[in-house]
Amino acid sequence: MKKTAAYFDRDFWHHLILIIVLTLGIILFYFFSFSRLFRFTIGFSLAVFYVLWGIIHHKLDGDLHFKNVVEYIFIALLAVVILGGMLI
C-alpha cells in the first residue's frame, strides 16, 4: 500500500514536470512568432524533451523496454514532421 502511494506520488510529479515544460514551450512558441526557425527549434526541443522524459520516467518506474522507447520516439517524430510541414 505504501509502495502504491509512493508510486502515484512520483507519477504525479513526473506528469506535473511534463505539463510545466510543455506549457512553457507553448508560451515560448507564441512569443517567438517572428521566426519560423525559432519556432521549429522550440517544437523540436519539446519533442526531444518528451523522449527523454519517457525514458527517465519508465526507467524510474522500472518498466523501461525498447518498445516503450520506440513508441516515444515515433510520437516525437510525428510532432517534428507536423511542425516541419507547417514551419519549413
Binding site: H15, L18, I19, L22, T23, G25, I26, F29, Y30, S33, F34, S35, R36, L37, R39, G43, L46, Y50, W53, G54, H57, H58, D63, H65, K67, N68, V70, E71, Y72, F74, I75, L77, L78, A79, V81, I82, L83, G84, G85, M86, L87
Partner: protein, 316 residues
C-alpha cells in the same frame, strides 16, 4: 512493408473485427489498440511526410491550385478600421496618400534591412518615414502585422491588443495610410501590413498635445518636419510593387490550411483512441508494456495548441 502489413490485416478481417482490432485493446492486439502501436505511428509519419512533399511539389508547379491563400487589401483594411472607430463613437479616418507612401517606404526598409520592429537597426523611426513622405504631423502612430491571410483578421488582431486598439481608436487621428507588401523577411516569405495614422499640422486639432510616449506605436508630439536623406530609404529588390491594392492570392486550396486540418485530424483521432484505450485498460486493470496514454495525451494536446497558434499572424 508497413502498407502490406496493414493490407494483410484488413483483408483477413470483418469490419467489426477490424474496428475492434484498431481501436479496442484486447488479447489479439497485445492489449493495445493497433492504431497506437509503434508500426501505426510510423505509418502516420510516412503518410504525413509523403503528403507534405506532394503538397510542396504541387505548390511549386501549380500555385493556382495549391498555395498560400492571402487576401489583404487596403480598401477592406480601411473599411474595417473605420467600422471599429464608428462603433466606438470616433470619426472615420481618410486615406492619406502621404501616409500610404510613408507606409510603403517603411515596408521597403523592413525588407531591405531585414527587421521586424518599429525602429530600424540604423535607428530610423516611423516618424522619419512619415516626415520623409512630406506629412507634417501633430500626432502620428503605427501598427504592424505580418503573416495574416485576410484584412479582417489583421484589424481584429490589432483590436485585441490594448496598445494597438488605442492607436486605432485614438480620437486625435484624422488620416490613415496603408501598405500591404509581399517580400522575404528573415528568409521567410511574408506579407507585411503597415498601418500609419496621423493628424496633419495643417488641420485644426482641438486636443492639446500629450506627453511624449516612448511606446513606438503610440502618438508622438509634433516635431519640425524634415525629409529623410536618400541613404535612409533603400529600395528593396524583394518587394512586389502592388501596395495600392494589397496582396491577393487565392489558390483553389490553401496549402497551410489543408496541412493543419490533416494534422489536427490525425492528432484528434489519436487523442480519442488514447482515451478509449486508456479507459478500458484502467477498467480492466490490465498490466502491459507500453508508453503512458496520459503522457501521450498531454503531449498531443500541446502539439494541437502549437498547430493552432502557428496558424495566426503576428502584430507589433
Amino acid at each position: 512493408m508497413i502498407i502490406s502489413f496493414f493490407a494483410s490485416i484488413i483483408l483477413c478481417m470483418s469490419v467489426k473485427d477490424l474496428v475492434r482490432h484498431f481501436f479496442i485493446p484486447h488479447r489479439a492486439n497485445n492489449h493495445r489498440a493497433k492504431a497506437l502501436h509503434p508500426k501505426s505511428f510510423l505509418f502516420y509519419i510516412l503518410v504525413l511526410a509523403v503528403l507534405q512533399l506532394s503538397f510542396k511539389f504541387v505548390t511549386l508547379i501549380r500555385p493556382d491550385i495549391l498555395g498560400i491563400a492571402t487576401n489583404i487589401n487596403v480598401d477592406r483594411l480601411l473599411e474595417a478600421t473605420n467600422k471599429e472607430r464608428e462603433q466606438n463613437g470616433m470619426v472615420n479616418l481618410e486615406l492619406n496618400p502621404e501616409l500610404s507612401l510613408a507606409a510603403e517606404k517603411k515596408a521597403e526598409d523592413m525588407f531591405a534591412r531585414n527587421y521586424w520592429a518599429h525602429n530600424g537597426p540604423n535607428g530610423s523611426t516611423p516618424w522619419d518615414f512619415i516626415k520623409g513622405a512630406g506629412y507634417t504631423y501633430i500626432y502620428a502612430g503605427e501598427n504592424l502585422a505580418k503573416d495574416f491571410q485576410n484584412s479582417n483578421d489583421v484589424v481584429q488582431a490589432w483590436m485585441k491588443s490594448p496598445s494597438h486598439r488605442e492607436n486605432i481608436l485614438r480620437k486625435e487621428y484624422q488620416d490613415i495610410g496603408f501598405a500591404v507588401v509581399n517580400g522575404v523577411l528573415n528568409g521567410e516569405e511574408t506579407t507585411l501590413v503597415i498601418q500609419m495614422f496621423g493628424v496633419s499640422s495643417s488641420k485644426s486639432v482641438a486636443a492639446k498635445p500629450e506627453s511624449d510616449k516612448q511606446i513606438q506605436i503610440a502618438v508622438k508630439p509634433a516635431e519640425t518636419a524634415n525629409t529623410l536623406g536618400k541613404e535612409e530609404l533603400v529600395t528593396s529588390k524583394t518587394v512586389d510593387n502592388n501596395y495600392a491594392l494589397g496582396v491577393v492570392a487565392l489558390p483553389l486550396f490553401d496549402e497551410g490550411l489543408l496541412l493543419r486540418l490533416i494534422s489536427l485530424l490525425i492528432m484528434g483521432s489519436l487523442l480519442t483512441i488514447l482515451t478509449i484505450d486508456g479507459f478500458l485498460i484502467l477498467r480492466r486493470r490490465t498490466v502491459r508494456i507500453a508508453g503512458h496514454n496520459f503522457a501521450h495525451f498531454i503531449f498531443l494536446l500541446a502539439l494541437i495548441s502549437i498547430v493552432i497558434i502557428s496558424a495566426t499572424g503576428t502584430i507589433l
